[in-house]
Symmetry: C2
Subunit: 458 residues, 2 copies
């Protein structure tokens, strides 16, 4: 430590020296040379010196399987063997690790299982594949004594799988809640800051490359559900169970509710939430009101963040980009470095695939939404009269649902109507649905009540 | 995935089963049973089932060295051997790992070196010890083939050492900037929200247990500098070099500047910053203005956060408690789990002590503060006349220092004076000091100019 203001130069060299690796290089076969594949190749080349300085071993992309060989030969150097049949890669005896970045759940599944059968380690960023076929794939890997690593499957720039599997191992995890889809977070940020509709924000996102031509997986919450499946498995020691996740996307969100929520001190985020209770597990993806001063509410644009509540560490949060060529490459290469550091030893399975020892991974009952307890934002479009508010409130009171905040606002579309916003205390969803059914039968209430769940996450 | 609203219960059991560990337990000797030591014992007991389910091996605190044996026997169970000489623990043949949580840099150093000499792994949360004696300790560990793990030394609840050493290994790290001292962040949060003085906020913090009776290490920035030393070493592959860190604490901060900064859209945080340039490294701890909508500005109270900018992953951030008995235990136990997963194998040194292979750890020249470039917040107390502002601005113009914002405010203490705030563009500190020297000689300027650095961190 020095506290004066004079320069203090160490007598030393100008960079990290690359150690001459004591082992043969890790030979990687890459399946796919799209955005992520090309990004992985680029980062491995550009940062070869610093990666070798950390790892003590070179990582070499030896083979690449691509559809278009001519196009690929412009991207990779002449030292790489290009083939158009991916099975040539997974069956090649000189390949140590197969990196699967072609996506999808059909051919990718066949390739991954074949690679495992051939005794090769696998690194993949394919969340859909693992969320759906993870149990089969992890069991095959266990039986063959190889590793299937997948840091790039969730919130790519953030090492959240490593954090859950290795960083928080002392803890009983209570819940995980995350903004784990950048496309929807970008759209919601645009709807909030510019007041535009979902359709317009989606069109913008597509123009800018934040959303795909077919945005279904993102905007319907399916991509977030894939990632939540993997987060929950690692947090709680349960198998992947994508079919048990409740999923509600953002396509039905009205920008007026985002604006009203903002007026009441909240922001709307698409959250993936996994909670452990004494009686089971909640697994759900849905739009959620979060207090505007909550850290998750500050996560804007296409950024991701995962918050974890655990008994010893308390609340921790992990923030970064959730997509991108080099961001995903960062995760894929971290998995390769991990393999360099252990493969070829008896401790290849140093960390179990799903954080818990295979024998300790046990399914827990998943709570149906009717039994889930959250707060609710409710918008009722009403023709306002003297008795309107007392009448509406009596329905809440009869069901013992505490109303914590009530605002009567102008209806943005119809001057003859008002919008009344109710924020409820945490309430079992079954009870809330009963209240809504009653409210929607009242003649003063026009159309369906708009309901968005609220989470405190403290 | 399901989208209906009916409960869907898996037919399964009610918790994780504890696997019968296939190995002998990891036998831990604990040095110290203060806050952290007791917290570690408590969490290991409470979460034994879930830790064993993750690890496949039991972690057993076999011996504890304490000053007060009677007091200790109330905390730990009868299965633990209590001794009052810590050297009995480090010399005991049955102990696999020594956990050092007594603190300090004298006896702790002797104990850690003796444990290493005896071939025992060491887990420590002692940032001062490693920041000052790390080179000696890591070299001894390397020579003996044992691990010295220290996740608990920095921002305890967040696995930031693991993130730097293992999660971001693909990246060339550009900078690390963190709120890494909870005491000072609590004091600064209180000064901002309540407008109280540093002295009053410190007294409050001491009453509430956020600050120690002798707060010097915290409020003078020394604790943050210890942690920054470790972060920088892991980020850049340089040795620990605490003596090269520029350190400025928060004791001289005036609450009026925190209030003025707030009016201008900024918050004041004590940041530890390590930046890599082509020509060397910046290592500095000082109060810093950060834009109010920056994620680091949202880190309030005693919480910590570390932001990392790297070339592939981009900006990522890690947030959580920086102190506390169980929060520190979370880190200490994660290190023990890591040891369970590798020790007894040839891969005990799976991850190098400072992220880079020992041969690749190379000192870089540390840039003196005169050469560091930051923006500046400047407060000049002046007796205002017609020519005051043009005269002051001419000094900036002559030195080619761009003023980006200027506010003339009422002086909070002296009605005859005004406070003029200048925010400058990023400027080399040597140049800025020249401007300040000139300004302070002007008769209209009363007293010394108050200067606080500004960082964009984008």
């Amino acid at each position: 430590m020095y506290q004066d203001h004079h320069a203090s130069f160490a007598v030393s060299s100008h960079g990290n020296t690359v150690p001459s690796p004591s082992h043969a290089p890790l030979r990687v076969g890459l399946l796919g040379l799209g955005t992520v594949g090309a990004g992985t190749y680029t980062v491995l080349q550009r940062n070869a010196d610093v990666i070798a300085a950390r790892t003590g071993r070179r990582i070499e992309i030896a083979m690449v399987a691509v559809r278009n060989l001519a196009r690929a030969s412009v991207i990779v150097g002449p030292e790489v063997s290009l083939v158009d049949d991916p099975f040539q890669v997974v069956n090649h005896p000189d390949i140590d690790v197969v990196v699967e970045v072609i996506g999808g759940t059909t051919v990718a599944r066949d390739l991954v299982l074949q690679a495992i059968a051939n005794g090769k380690h696998v690194v993949t960023a394919n969340k859909a594949l693992l969320a759906v076929h993870g149990s089969e794939i992890f069991a095959a890997a266990q039986a063959q004594g190889v590793v299937v690593a997948y840091e790039g499957a969730v919130a790519v720039s953030i090492p959240i799988i490593k954090t859950l599997r290795e960083g928080l191992t002392a803890n009983r995890i209570e819940w995980v809640a995350g903004i784990i889809n950048g496309t929807t977070n970008y759209i919601l940020s645009e709807m909030r800051t510019k007041g535009v509709s979902f359709a317009d924000a989606l069109a913008d996102a597509q123009r800018l490359g934040y959303a795909e031509a077919d945005p279904t997986f993102d905007v319907e919450g399916i991509d977030a559900a894939h990632k939540l499946t993997l987060l929950a498995a690692n947090a709680f020691g349960v198998p992947v169970q994508f079919d048990k996740v409740y999923v509600q996307g953002i396509t039905a969100l009205d920008s007026v509710d985002i604006a009203f929520a903002e007026q009441l001190g909240y922001r709307v985020k698409l959250l993936g939430i996994a909670k452990r209770h004494d009686h089971g597990l909640e697994l759900r993806v849905h739009p959620t009101l979060v207090a505007a001063d909550h850290l998750l509410a500050q996560v804007n644009g296409s950024m991701n963040a995962v918050m974890v509540k655990s008994d010893a560490a308390g609340v921790t949060m992990y923030y970064g980009a959730g997509a991108g060529a080099e961001q995903t490459a960062s995760a894929v290469i971290a998995d390769l470095v991990d393999l360099c550091r252990t493969c070829g030893t008896a401790h290849r399975h140093r960390v179990p695939s799903l954080a818990f020892q295979p024998g300790a991974v046990v399914a827990l009952p998943v709570t149906g939404m009717a039994d889930v307890v959250t707060g609710f934002y409710l918008r009722l479009d009403v023709s306002l009269a003297a008795q309107t508010v007392p009448t509406l409130l009596s329905h809440f009171a009869q069901a013992h649902v505490p109303v914590q905040q009530l605002e009567v606002l102008e209806h943005p579309g119809d001057k003859a109507l008002n919008a009344i916003i109710f924020l409820t205390a945490p309430t079992q969803e079954r009870v809330l649905r009963g209240v809504l059914a009653g409210l929607e039968q009242l003649p003063m209430v026009r159309g369906a009540v708009k309901a968005i769940r609220i989470e405190a996450l403290a």
